[in-house]
């Protein structure tokens, strides 16, 4: 950037992995068939996601999403789509909860890389409270879709 302070205060937020996923958009598209679908919207910034999940017994078989929004929300959907297939429903829920705890920590929680994998790249978002909802959007959509599928 042309007029930037020597230290990039955004480096903790816009990790290379996040910017890369925001472009790659892993798992984008509507899967068929599917067991549950959730549409979520972040009214403050207009981020939105439509997420579908297909289960195979007790495991996530496939996840697809369509949406628009900021790089944080889109990258987090992409990372989720990369991770979720193959997890049991219980494992997926555990990972969603760990992500929530990490993002709400305001930087006070050491990210569990063994559990979260690439999603630890979002640890920096915890220091930007206005962006936590962006990063959680897809994950909450999956959580609610799993709830729906269980009913």
């Amino acid at each position: 950037m042309t007029s930037q302070a020597p230290r990039d205060p955004l480096a903790g937020l816009y990790q290379e992995l996040i910017l890369e996923h925001a472009k790659r958009r892993e798992g984008e598209g509507a899967i068929e068939p599917f067991d549950a679908e959730r549409f979520l919207r972040n009214p403050t910034c207009g981020d939105e996601i439509r997420l579908r999940v297909r289960l195979d017994g007790d495991a996530v078989d496939a996840l697809g999403w369509e949406g628009q929004g900021c790089s944080i929300s889109q990258a987090s959907a992409s990372v989720l789509a990369e991770q979720a297939p193959g997890l049991t429903v219980a494992e997926a829920r555990q990972r969603i909860e760990a992500m929530r705890e990490l993002l709400r920590s305001r930087g006070g929680v050491e990210p569990d890389e063994a559990l979260l994998g690439d999603a630890v790249a979002f640890a920096g978002v915890a220091r930007f409270p206005m962006r936590v909802k962006c990063a959680m959007l897809a994950w909450v959509a999956l959580e609610e879709a799993l709830d729906q599928a269980a009913r």
Partner: protein, 416 residues
Amino acid sequence: MLALRADFPILAEQPAGVPLVYLDSGATSQQPRQVLDAEWAFRTQRNAAVHRGAHTLAALATDDYEVARDRIARFVGARPTEISWAMNATDALNTVALSLAEANRAGAVDPALRIRAGDEILVTEAEHHANLLPWQRLADETGATLRWIAVDDDGVWTAEAALAAITERTRVVAVAHVSNVTGLIAPVDEIVAAAHAVGALVVLDACQSVPHRPVDLHALGVDAAAFSAHKMLGPGGIGVLYLAEALGAALPPARLGGSMITTVTMTEREFLPAPQRFEAGTQPVSAIVGLAAAVDYLEGVGMAAIEAHELALGERLASGAASIEGVRLVGPQPGVERAGLASVIVDGVHAHDVGQVLDAQGIAARVGHHCAQPLHRRLGVAATTRASAYLYTTEAEVDLFLDALSGVRAYFGAGR
């Protein structure tokens, strides 16, 4: 204008660790010491319930309260009896729509207020939700049709389109004097003439005009207007509802309670005339005193000088933004008059990410749909980035914004 920055303590703050470049006055403005001092003085020396009780302190408080009304009336070219307090402009606009709904529920409807099935309520596609939703609901309740003046690809609408949309069936025309997203200045004179020719009321959302330019409501001839104190150097929690004398006399109140009646029995009620009729319950008196101090401050600087300062900043923002590759300027294009604000779309970068990059450089700009979703849908985006100036904004700040904006796409690798 530079010297007056010292009156605003917050401008010396560094919330993001770097000097604050505050370009979000369109959302809320900052308050000078004079306003804070006036509120403090009232609270510590004159605070009491107004228009109630006979003790000396109550009389002093009532005096301040009514002097404030006089000052604000004079500021916008109105009579004091035409100025009622509201929570904010949103509240004031809701009051007009709710009162019209109430008028149409009552048995004998004043013909000037009558809205029936097949009648039309006219807004623009660019309205803030506060000047859209109350009219949507009024249309639903009365069976009237909500119509709107369409905007073009830049979010701009014209006087010709407005005049073509006003018909014999139009009962209310509700428009923003200055758009909070595009900075477009509405052709109010032409709208008032056309609306009054068919017996329609004109309701003006003056949130982005009264704080920034000389406004004479009698000269404009509108029937109702609304603006918020917090956008004009005043405190939060207080707004102004202007009702031209004839409308104020005809409209029934939407809220009932203390301080707005003459006689109450267990089954009957009679109301005071405007403005008290529209002021049920205790008002935030110290905030009203603060608003009067804000008006004094603005008049001290001079509204014509503020307008000239902001028109120049608006043009600087617009021409600067339009010249950045990959940045699309919303609203009037450079060279066409606009208020001191500009909203932009950065190709390939979501507004939220734009705002984050700006914030890291101390620049407080607004990102989002600015409470105008239909306009943004028409523009084909969910959100835009808006810089809005005020009397304390400098050319250097505008240039910092433009410089930061020009680096955004490179940061996110857009366009590569």
